[in-house]
Each structure stands twice: as structure tokens, then as C-alpha cells.
């Protein structure tokens, strides 16, 4: 009896509620990932005057489901010479990093899985876990291409986190909080109050508008680098490194990488939405504002940025690894510092 009581005590009070709250982002993540895969296929096709998948369901909308069904059936290969524990662990770590970020993402004012005070910081911290997974996967595969891809990825993600963090930090300065909910609330009242236009305030905020605009752009660029998307997809650059760090992965493990990539895309798009583009707020002030609309606006804006990422991918060539560093350290970083400096000054004066 005692043991049962002990186990029972271990289970928190609102066990079911916790499970539900944890599951909602997971379901959202899976549905979104399927949609994003389809979106990627379709948008790339339309840009290239093609049609994309057409023969799986009407207009090919069942394509991602077929892919999942296929990937489940694929043989799960582990190379003989690979370091098996690390090799098998890597995709889970990457997926975990992506999924954990959803813990603080405020979908609506009534659905924030975990409303912690250091939300922005948490997202950045958890987002960096992915790089550990990439290195693990790349190194454990015992493949030279994977190793090269992993090495490039580390250098890239570390250097692009700094300008990205600078951009986010200036938002924290403007909102005087790291709490994502508070940041959202600070942008209420229409498109003009979003942080991309300097946030709420009187006309003297015009001084900071150019800087916030640049910072939002800087964050968009560094988020591309963090998610390994073109023009920064050198860790998996197909024409050089075959498939980069996931060269040796097959079946569901590869699907994990695949999902995590799209999940990360959503996370960075969500952060961009929250910090600069008003989060759940409607662009028309109180019009179309409310708990239901919150989800609509938030997901809608995030999807828009996901689409922008896809659009960029099918437009641009990719950078070389040293140019990537150049852009990161010599272009984005100085610009973000300058902008941050001015925004801080502005806050001090106000």
C-alpha cells in the first residue's frame, strides 16, 4: 500500500491536464510539419512553374502523409562503423530541442504552456541544443561528409546566435521584459504599435523605427542560419556535402531530422512574430481581436514567415563557409550592435 501511495504521490495533481497541455503542441507540431512539407513542395513547384505533387489525393494534399507512412516502413540502418549510442541518440536530441521550445510559445493569451519569466532566454537556450544533436549525428556517423557538415554547422549556429540574440535583446529592452506574454501585451493596439515599428509610444519613437526595422531583418537572416536554410544551408549543402550531417540516416531517424528542421523553422518564425510582429495581436487594433483570433493571428503570421523562408530558399544560391562567417561577424554583428546601442539610448532618454 505504501508503495502505491508513494507512486501516487509522485504523480502531480493535474496529471491529465499536464498531459493534454504537453500533447497539444506536439499534435500542432506534427500537423504543422506535414503542412510545411507540403507547402515546401508546392511553393517550390509553383515558383518553378511546375505543379508539385499532384497524384496523391486531390492536388497531392496527402503527399506528406504518404511520406510518413513510407518512412515508418523503411529499414533503419546503422552503419557498422558508426558509434551506435550517439548515432541513435542524435535525432532525438534534435527533435527534443525543437519540441522543447514549444513549451513557452504563447499561441493565445489563454494558451501558454508555460508562462515563465525568462521565455526569450529559454527559447534561445533550448534552440541551441539542436547543434549538439547535429554534432553528435555528424561525428557518430563516421562519414567524412557528415563530419564536415557537423563542423560547419557548429561554427554557423554559434556565430549567428550573437546577432540574433542582439536583435531579441533590443526587444527585451523596449518591452522591459523577457516574458513572452508581456512582450505580446506591450504591442497591443494595431500594427503601428508592433516592435518592428518601435512599439507603443508617442511620435518620438520614430527615432527607433529604422533600427527596429533593421533588427527584425537581422533576426530573420540569423534565424535562417540557425535553421540551416538557404542561403545558409552549408551544413547539408547538397551540391558539396551530399546530405551533410544526416547523410547516413535513414527511415524514421531521418524523419526526425526532417521534422525537427521544419519545427525549428516554426520556432524561429514564432519568435520573430512575437518579438517584432505583434504576436497574437491583430494588426487592426481591437478589430478581430479575441482569444480565438489570437491563435489565428499568431499562427497566420508565423506561417507567413515560414513561407518567406521557403521562398528565400528557392530564390538564392548558398554562401560559402567563410562568407557565412563574414556576413555573421562583419555585417550582422556591427549592425545589430549599433541598433542595440541606439535603442538602449532611446530607452534611457525616455
Amino acid at each position: 500500500m505504501e508503495t502505491i501511495n508513494f507512486v501516487y504521490n509522485l504523480i502531480p495533481d493535474q496529471f491529465i491536464a499536464i498531459i493534454v497541455i504537453c500533447t497539444i503542441p506536439l499534435i500542432f507540431l506534427i500537423v504543422y510539419a506535414l503542412l510545411a512539407i507540403l507547402g515546401e513542395l508546392k511553393i517550390s513547384a509553383w515558383i518553378q512553374e511546375r505543379l508539385g505533387p499532384m497524384r496523391t489525393g486531390p492536388w497531392g494534399i496527402l503527399q506528406p502523409i504518404a511520406e510518413v507512412v513510407k518512412l515508418i516502413q523503411k529499414e533503419d540502418l546503422t552503419p557498422d562503423t558508426a558509434n551506435k549510442p550517439l548515432f541513435n541518440l542524435a535525432p532525438f536530441i534534435i527533435f527534443m530541442g525543437a519540441y522543447a521550445s514549444f513549451a513557452v510559445i504563447p499561441f493565445s493569451r489563454y494558451f501558454i504552456p508555460s508562462d515563465i519569466n525568462i521565455g526569450l532566454f529559454y527559447i534561445f537556450a533550448v534552440g541551441s541544443i539542436a547543434v549538439i544533436g547535429i554534432v553528435m549525428g555528424g561525428w557518430a556517423s563516421n562519414n567524412k561528409y557528415s563530419l564536415l557538415g557537423a563542423m560547419r554547422s557548429v561554427a554557423q549556429i554559434i556565430s549567428y546566435e550573437i546577432p540574433g540574440a542582439m536583435a531579441i535583446l533590443s526587444v527585451a529592452v523596449l518591452a522591459s521584459s523577457l516574458n513572452l506574454e508581456k512582450i505580446n501585451i506591450a504591442q497591443e493596439g494595431g500594427i503601428w504599435n508592433w516592435f518592428v515599428f518601435g512599439g507603443q509610444g508617442s511620435w518620438d519613437k520614430l527615432w527607433v523605427v529604422p533600427f527596429t526595422l533593421i533588427l527584425s531583418l537581422i533576426y530573420l537572416i540569423s534565424s535562417l542560419a540557425e535553421t540551416n536554410r538557404t542561403p545558409f544551408d552549408i551544413p547539408e549543402g547538397e551540391s558539396e556535402l551530399v546530405a551533410g550531417y544526416h547523410t547516413e540516416y535513414s527511415g524514421m531517424k531521418f524523419a526526425m531530422f526532417f521534422f525537427a528542421e521544419y519545427a525549428n523553422m516554426f520556432v524561429v518564425a514564432a519568435v520573430l512574430t512575437i518579438t517584432f510582429f505583434g504576436g497574437w495581436n491583430s494588426p487592426f487594433g481591437n478589430f478581430m481581436q479575441g482569444p480565438g483570433w489570437d491563435v489565428f493571428w499568431f499562427v497566420g503570421k508565423s506561417f507567413f514567415f515560414v513561407i518567406v523562408q521557403i521562398w528565400l530558399r528557392w530564390t538564392l544560391p548558398r554562401l560559402r563557409v567563410d562568407q557565412l562567417m563574414y556576413v555573421g561577424w562583419k555585417v550582422l554583428l556591427p549592425f545589430s550592435f549599433i541598433c542595440f546601442l541606439f535603442i538602449s539610448l532611446f530607452r534611457m532618454i525616455n
Partner: protein, 178 residues
């Protein structure tokens, strides 16, 4: 008899549930075939043309993968030389099951124009790896590639997973006894 007991039985006895389940699995494999980004010779140019906008191979749910680990089928598009044959065999072995092979063009089918005096040409890729569909032509039209793809999809759809498992077991038994 539970459903699980029926798993090892042939499809005919499996009834509707297993049949539908198998259909869904087959549907997934047939509709989402990723191919190895791999070209050998002349047919590879038509292969590229087939991927381009006018013919758009991606309509069939195919995505090019650069690594054999993630590929479901390989298109041998061109002449297989003896020097290359060992590599192709290796590539085939690196691919994860279930995997398929389409041999495209005369050269891959049987050496094509080079079958007579080609001292350095492998006369047919089916000498080293199993081939599921043969597409004739030199080079085939892009539509012919797609015709081969449709035939492959048809073949996958009619595959019997559970029956195959049973058959494989029988085969292994025979092997063991022999």
C-alpha cells in the same frame, strides 16, 4: 483467433482489416518514392529534363535524395561500365529496404549500342543488382520514364507484405535445411 495470430497467415485469410492495412502501407510506399540523385550518361540528361517543369517528376511524389540511405529507388540512367559496376553495387547495398530499381535506356537494360564491342561495358545492370522495371529507349522520352514510374507504383501497390513475410520464412527454412 486474434488478429495477431493471423499476421503470419497469407493475405487471403487475413480478411478485410489486414487487407486494408496492407493497402495503406503499400499506398504510402507507392506514393512517396524518393529517388537517388544519380545519373550516369545520356539518359541522365533526359532524366533532368523529366525533373524539369514540363514533365515534373515530383508530381508522382518523388523527391531527389543525394544519399542512398534515404532513397527508395534508384534509376540506372545510362551505361554501366565495369569500373562503375562495383560502385553501383555498393550504392544498392547502402540503400535501405524496401528498395527498387528502374533500369532506364538500352545501355542499362543490356549494354545497348555497346553490347557487341564494348569491352568495358557491363551488358545489363541486372547482372549485378535486381531490376524491377525496364524502360526501353535510347534515351527514352521523359514520358517513358514516367511510364516506368507508373509501372513501378503499380507493382508496389500490388505487393503483399504479409504474404511476403511468410514466404521469406519459408525460404529461410529451405535455406537452413539445405
Amino acid at each position: 483467433m486474434g488478429l495477431l495470430n493471423k499476421l503470419n497467415e497469407p493475405y487471403e485469410a487475413g480478411g478485410i482489416i489486414l487487407g486494408t492495412f496492407e493497402d495503406i502501407l503499400n499506398w504510402g510506399r507507392a506514393r512517396s518514392d524518393w529517388y537517388l540523385h544519380f545519373g550516369l550518361a545520356c539518359c541522365a540528361i533526359e532524366f533532368m529534363a523529366m525533373n524539369a517543369s514540363h514533365f515534373d517528376f515530383m508530381r508522382f511524389g518523388t523527391i531527389p535524395r543525394a544519399t542512398p540511405r534515404q532513397a527508395d529507388f534508384i534509376m540506372i540512367t545510362g551505361t554501366v561500365t565495369l569500373k562503375m559496376a562495383e560502385r553501383i553495387k555498393k550504392l544498392w547495398e547502402q540503400m535501405a529496404e524496401p528498395k527498387y530499381c528502374i533500369s532506364v535506356g538500352s545501355c542499362a537494360n543490356c549494354g545497348g549500342p555497346y553490347w557487341e564491342h564494348g569491352y568495358h561495358v557491363l551488358k545489363g545492370v541486372d547482372r549485378i543488382i535486381p531490376v524491377h522495371v525496364y524502360v526501353p529507349g535510347c534515351p527514352p522520352r521523359p514520358e517513358a520514364f514516367q511510364d516506368g514510374m507508373i509501372k513501378l507504383q503499380k507493382m508496389i501497390k500490388e505487393e503483399a507484405i504479409f504474404r511476403k513475410r511468410k514466404k521469406l520464412e519459408e525460404d529461410s527454412k529451405i535455406e537452413l535445411s539445405a
